[in-house]
């Protein structure tokens, strides 16, 4: 789950003592003007959206005075950035940047520990720096039991600065950032850019945190920060029902159990010359209600011409899926053909249940997908 910049900024500042740029969030031009008045300074107005590249899209503007802040906020609020409507702006003091750097903490699946990434190239996408000038990106795996020790923070920040005061200030920020990463069960905690101002202060100018969904159950206060209005409503609904759903542009609705099989099913759809309308993993331990929700979401997509079920039972029981399918058909009308391939745990019970619905049944993945591709073309 991604947090908005203003949310991360306040977590970093208030809970982890990371100095950030003074400012506040606004939902209207009037609020933006009021904040600018309070700051008594030139300000930067920054669109609060969860997609990258907002700067290039015109989502960040400088304002000279409160009236200008009103104007610029008016221009940004309501703007569309990569399909997201801007509803909030962050209004912060404009600062004099002397030096920009990157500092982030991620989890490394290979080394199986948190890794700190720093680069003297800040303010740009770190992936681009890593690709074009890998020698400018430094990685430091952190021993999880020892944690972020002061010497380690100083050594890491020493890659960015020579001046001892800046190293001290930067190390303190890194220790806070690492603590935030661990405390919040984050999968990414990032400051980009970490700025040295003309006055010599070290500040987090943009703060970003992505929380791991698996950790949210123990962070109620963080889970409550979810930015629902920026998410696809269907994807929200799916997540709440315990489904993993991604909307795509094709016309074959897919209901599959397991992420790997779901991806392989999409691959097979393309292999047979068609396009999937979605990725949908009903997960393990599926109960009939999940299937009902899945069908509701898929049938709402007007592009969908055919729906295919590809279920290989393991922890998912085929009879649960069959019961869900029957229940859905009882609850609402489905106008497109439904092709079903069910095999594995409780397969026979499922065939029994489905026999009354008179749906076309298939035994192999190749057959159900090729038939669906035929129907959709």
């Amino acid at each position: 789950m991604k947090l908005q910049e203003y949310q991360t900024k306040s977590i970093f500042e208030e809970r982890y003592g990371i100095p950030t740029v003074e400012g506040a969030v606004a939902s209207s031009p009037e609020e933006a003007r009021a904040i600018a008045e309070k700051l008594r300074s030139r300000v930067a107005i920054k669109a609060q959206v969860l997609v990258g590249g907002r700067g290039k899209a015109g989502g960040i503007k400088l304002a000279e005075n409160p009236d200008d802040a009103f104007e610029k906020a008016s221009a940004i609020l309501g703007m569309d950035i990569k399909g997201i409507n801007v509803k909030k702006v962050l209004v912060v003091k404009a600062i004099n940047i002397a030096q920009e750097a990157y500092v982030g903490v991620v989890l490394d699946r290979k080394r199986k520990c948190p890794v700190v990434i720093v680069s003297g190239e800040g303010g740009v996408e770190i992936e681009v720096v890593a690709k074009e000038t890998p020698e400018k990106v430094h990685q430091f795996p952190i021993n999880p039991c020892a944690g972020m020790r002061p010497y380690k923070a100083r050594t890491i920040i020493g890659k960015l600065y020579d001046d001892q005061n800046k190293i001290k200030a930067g190390a303190k920020i890194l220790m806070g950032l690492y603590k935030a990463f661990i405390d919040c069960d984050a999968s990414l905690a990032e400051i980009n850019p970490l700025v040295v101002t003309a006055e010599g202060d070290v500040l987090a100018v943009d703060s970003k945190m992505v929380l791991d969904d698996n950790g949210l159950f123990r962070h109620e206060n963080l889970a409550a920060l979810r930015n629902l209005d920026e998410e696809n409503p269907a994807e929200n609904e799916a997540r709440e029902a315990g489904l993993s759903f991604v909307k795509l542009d094709g016309n074959i609705g897919c209901v599959v159990n397991g992420a790997g099989l779901a991806m392989a099913t999409m691959d097979l759809v393309k292999h047979f010359g068609a396009e999937p309308a979605n990725f949908l993993d009903i997960g393990g331990s599926s109960n009939p209600e999940k299937v009902v929700t899945a069908l509701k979401i898929i049938t709402r997509d007007p592009n969908v011409k055919v729906i295919l079920f590809n279920i290989f039972g393991g922890i998912t029981r085929c009879d649960d899926v069959a019961n869900g399918l029957i229940k859905a058909l009882d609850e609402f009308k489905v106008d497109v053909p439904i092709l079903v391939r069910l095999t594995g745990t409780n397969e026979n019970e499922a065939r029994e249940i489905l026999s009354r619905a008179n749906l076309p049944m298939f035994t192999t993945m190749d057959k159900v997908v090729s038939e669906a591709a035929k129907l959709a073309s």
Partner: protein, 289 residues
């Protein structure tokens, strides 16, 4: 022989009194697995499908000689269950089926297991089966057949799909390991491949990967450097749009790394045949043997 589990495997089921725990205990018993104990705190003295329930793993192991655990407890309690399993004297292998464990917990748990010398499979995995000997997991036993192909996979149901087609093609399996799709897992491709390489019963290996991470690229290098048994592969997610999360935490395309194309190229570069679609795998495997 076979890998990690065999006829000497004696299983304790953590979370045996839950819906999934009880259901798959029956599945394992029906398959012939020696399920000797269950654990649910506070349920000492109960029985589930004839299996005695204990309050804690250490006691279950002490009383029944269990050497392998399978974990079905919900994610909020799974971290604790993982520590408990590895801490029981005599524990050899732990299979964690639970999905949704915070990855930072797994970071510490991984080190704990290394320290204790206990083999962890998963989490978020379907388990492991040595057909005809022992099934420790949720895999549908009827699709497996004893034989000489080792199977290792990041996926669950896609594995069943592949195994089903192998069995139909007459290619039985020595051991099939679902390593799970999470970011931090106990047993990875390299562990499984090196185990298959030294297992006398295994003659060839099917590897099922997916997008995200670089585990497959490392597996390709390992195969080139260390294996003389034939390996064939399939990679799921060839058509996944970049940046979209596809269910597994592992299945994210991070920057330029982790695409199916890269992984397929890595295998082909070292002479490992890669199937275009899952149903091609049996023929590719048979040809390599």
């Amino acid at each position: 022989m076979s890998v990690y589990v065999d006829e000497n495997t004696k299983v304790v089921v953590q979370g045996i009194t839950g819906r999934d725990g009880a259901f798959h205990t029956k599945g394992m018993l029906d398959y012939g697995t020696k399920v000797v104990a269950g654990v649910t705190p506070g349920k000492k003295g109960q029985e589930v499908h004839g299996v005695p329930v204990f309050n804690d793993v250490a006691t279950a192991v002490e009383k029944t000689g269990a050497n392998t655990s399978i974990i079905f407890v919900p994610p909020q309690f799974a971290t604790d269950a993982l520590y408990e399993a590895a801490d029981a004297p005599g524990m050899k292998v732990v299979v964690c089926v639970t999905e949704g464990i915070p990855p930072l917990d797994m970071v510490n748990i991984y080190d704990f297991y290394l320290d204790k010398g206990v083999r962890l499979i998963g989490p978020n995995c379907p388990g492991i089966i040595s057909p005809g000997k022992s099934k420790v997991g949720i895999l549908p036993g009827n699709i497996f057949k004893q034989g000489n192909i080792g199977v290792v996979s990041r996926s669950g149901t896609l594995t069943y799909e592949v195994v089903d087609s192998l069995t139909r093609a007459g290619l039985g399996q020595s051991t099939c390991i679902g390593i799970g799709g999470d970011q931090i897992i106990g047993t990875n491709f390299l562990d499984a491949l090196s185990a298959f390489q030294i297992d006398p019963e295994t003659q060839g290996v099917v590897l099922i990967g997916e997008i995200g991470g670089t585990d497959e690229q490392e597996a390709a290098k390992f195969i080139a450097d260390n294996m003389d048994k034939p390996v064939t592969a399939f990679i799921a997610g060839q058509t996944a749009p970049p940046g979209k999360r596809m269910g597994h935490a592992g299945a994210i395309i991070a920057g330029s790394e982790g695409t199916a194309a890269e992984k397929i190229a890595a295998f082909k570069n070292v002479g490992v045949p890669v199937a275009k679609i899952p149903s091609e795998l049996p023929e590719l495997m048979a040809k390599s043997l």
